[in-house]
């Protein structure tokens, strides 16, 4: 080390101090970038959801190309957890402790998120806009660092229950549900919505596992129970089978289909439009395969984005609409943070969203959060399939206080 190096020391020290003062308490944020972490199942049985993680990355690429957020580029780090909670814990710890991200955004799945729930709150790191419809993420008092995004399953179940109680005399209800947290959560909301009469009105429940090849057997049993209302809690693959089989065996109940499988192109057309006529669902996002949105401005923007930034993604895949919308929500929150991108402020701004409208949310649906309201989207609207598209009817329904 010679004399010239010694001269540099004070300068280096000055820079270090100056740099550290501004970056002192703001983890994952520098003057030029903000680090955002994510876990998604890119492998394993839930890998179909992995497109969400990829689409989010594609959205952030677009934001970066357009200048970033308040002058900072997004550094998006996403890891595969294979939908296995132990792996999620490992990967999230890596994000928080090694990669030192500012926040963990949209980790996917109820068991994975349950596994990291306590950790995130202990470490005071935002677990923001989690990708699950479970109800437990709206608990600001006990878990102030965790927030969901989509309308939760129980609320949707209650909406269907209310509809049945109002519109069907002598209802005899049959339910088909996936035997996991998603299916059971919907079922719980539905039963809660039916209230004391639930055990009387529901004449049969049939479950299936994701690894089952078909649900034909269950549909036959449900028809046989004499049910005139059918609450169909299935993911797209099984929804197609259920709709088709019910039609083939001549069973025509009032058919309530959960939102997860409401895509016209992925579910209703393969099942057959004749078989799908009269189906009712609750929607909150626009469906690319539904002809009524073909020339919608928001939809056209989305298609252009898909083609430019995520060409390997499939347009018919509703997950890509979901990913786009939730990414937009995060970008809105981060912009609202201004120059203070500390974790505390990120959560503060996330809990301070007022009447945010997104181009792909149904008209009338707005995102709202508050210090006691950690459920961003609580509204949805019922729609009936007329053979060609989903006809929205009634008003936009709010979950309000549950």
């Amino acid at each position: 080390m010679n004399f010239r190096h010694l001269l540099a020391l004070p300068a280096v020290a000055l820079f270090a101090v100056a740099g550290s003062v501004s970056a002192q308490t703001v983890v994952g944020v520098t003057a030029t970038e903000i680090k955002i972490g994510n876990t998604n199942p890119y492998s394993g049985p839930a890998s179909a959801y992995g497109t969400i993680g990829k689409a989010i990355g594609a959205y952030f690429n677009m934001v970066n190309e357009q200048g970033g957020i308040n002058g900072r580029k997004i550094n998006y780090i996403t890891y595969d957890d294979g939908y296995s909670p132990p792996k999620t814990v490992e990967m999230v710890r890596k994000l928080v402790e090694q990669d030192r991200v500012a926040l963990v955004f949209q980790p996917l799945g109820t068991p994975p998120n349950s596994a990291i729930h306590k950790y995130m709150n202990q470490m005071k790191v935002p677990q923001l806009f989690v990708a699950t419809g479970a109800t437990k993420w709206n608990d600001p008092k006990n878990y102030p660092w965790t927030m969901g995004w989509q309308p939760n399953y129980q609320t949707e179940g209650r909406i269907y229950a209310a509809y049945v109680l109002k519109n069907v005399k002598d209802a005899k209800i049959g339910v088909l549900y996936q035997n996991d947290d998603y299916g059971k959560d919907y079922l719980k909301g539905f039963e809660d919505g039916l209230g004391a009469q639930a055990s009387k009105l529901i004449v049969m429940k049939q479950s299936y596992e994701v690894t089952d090849p078909t649900v034909d057997s269950q549909i036959v049993n449900l028809k046989n129970s004499g049910a005139n209302v059918f609450f169909n809690i299935t993911i797209p693959k099984f929804a197609v089978q259920a709709i088709k089989k019910a039609h083939d065996i001549g069973w025509k109940p009032l058919h309530l289909l959960n939102n997860v499988s409401s895509s016209v192109g992925t579910v209703l057309k393969p099942a057959g439009v004749e078989a799908s006529k009269g189906l009712i669902t609750a929607l909150y996002l626009k469906d690319y395969t539904d002809p009524q949105w073909k020339n919608d401005k928001g939809m056209l923007e989305w298609v252009a984005w898909m083609k430019k930034y995520y060409p390997e993604g499939k347009l018919e895949d509703g997950f890509n609409i979901y990913a786009y919308s939730v990414a937009q929500t995060l970008v809105h929150v981060l912009r609202q943070c201004g120059n203070d991108l500390s974790r505390e402020n990120i959560m503060r701004q996330a809990a301070n969203i007022k009447n945010l409208e997104l181009p792909l949310l149904l008209p009338g649906i707005k995102i709202n959060t508050g210090p006691n309201d950690f459920a961003p989207i609580e509204q949805s609207q019922l729609a009936r399939f007329n053979g060609e598209r989903w006809e929205l009817f009634g008003e936009v329904l709010s979950a309000g206080s549950h």
């Binding site: 049939q206 057997s217 049993n221 693959k237 393969p270």
Partner: protein, 293 residues
């Protein structure tokens, strides 16, 4: 009564899905003494190849047979290139290699074709067939028919052709077979080729029902193992019967055993299989293992 018949029919339909893949599993085991964990993924990958051909405009049956040929060749190549280096390793080491193939095929399919599920055409009519009050899916019947045809071909091949005999000899006693002039290495490769081909048939038959995606065969493969175990790994007939039994029993249990209902269907099916194994340890139609001291 009607519901009983309807459930049995539905069970036969799902059972034939298991049976189709179980046949491929038994084929490889008969020919090479190896349980190929990658069988389901190879079948899935072959189905994607068929999908690619159909998308390029090939008519259904042309694509079907072209895929079978490609699968056959692929199976031979895999045996000669991937399995050959560990041919003489302990059996579990070979199993690990097949597990490696499993993850490779699954991952490649997801990478090349994405994980979005795709509809796959069926060569059978869409309208269900109604007999009496019972509804039969035309595709399900067609699937059962194709499975039985494949079973017949396998049986004829192993029983009546010199090549089939040579293959069985090579699997059971490679040393003596070599002395008899049989090229054991190529017999093994042929076994893999045929199994891959039958796996492709299974995949193509099953895809219209299950929808084509990289994890399509995951659940089915497990049931296929159960079916082959029940029927006896050394018997193609056993594989088919095993598959049909598993499908039917599962449905009947789910329907009639009320306190179990549908939430323990799989558990009961597996318990039954283990129960059968205790009575007949080599499966219903399997050969008993004779030990030389």
């Amino acid at each position: 009564m009607e519901i009983f018949i309807q459930q049995v029919v539905a069970g036969l339909a799902t059972g034939s899905i298991y049976a189709a893949l179980a046949l491929a599993l038994v084929m490889i085991y008969e020919a090479t003494d190896v349980v190929n964990f990658a069988q389901g993924e190879m079948a899935m990958f072959a189905t994607y190849v068929c999908w690619t051909l159909l998308n390029a405009g090939m008519p259904y049956w042309a694509a079907f047979f072209a895929t079978l040929a490609i699968a056959f060749a692929g199976g031979i190549v895999i045996e000669r290139v991937v399995i050959r280096p560990v041919e003489n390793a302990p059996i579990l080491t070979i199993v690990i290699v097949t597990i490696g193939l499993l993850v490779i095929f699954n991952s490649l399919a997801g990478w090349i074709y994405s994980y979005v599920q795709k509809p796959f055409p069926s060569p059978f009519p869409k309208e269900p067939i109604r007999i009496g009050g019972i509804v039969f899916g035309a595709h399900a019947l067609g699937q059962i028919a194709v499975t039985l045809v494949v079973l017949l071909c396998i049986w004829l091949f192993f029983r009546f052709t010199p090549l089939g005999l040579a293959m069985r000899a090579a699997a059971q006693n490679p040393v003596s077979s070599r002395l008899a002039g049989i090229r054991v290495g190529w017999m093994l490769a042929l076994g893999w080729g045929l199994a891959a081909m039958f796996g492709a048939v299974a995949g193509i038959m099953v895809a219209p029902v299950l929808f084509l995606d990289p994890n399509m065969m995951g659940g089915v493969q497990i049931y296929a193992f159960a079916a082959a175990t029940l029927g006896g790994f050394t018997s193609p007939l056993g594989a088919v019967v095993g598959g049909l039994i598993v499908g039917v029993v599962e449905n009947l249990v789910g329907t009639y055993v009320k306190f179990i209902g549908t939430e323990l269907k799989l558990t009961v099916a597996l318990a039954i299989i283990i129960g059968v194994l205790l009575v007949k340890p080599s499966g219903l139609f399997g050969r008993a293992v004779v030990r030389r001291v």
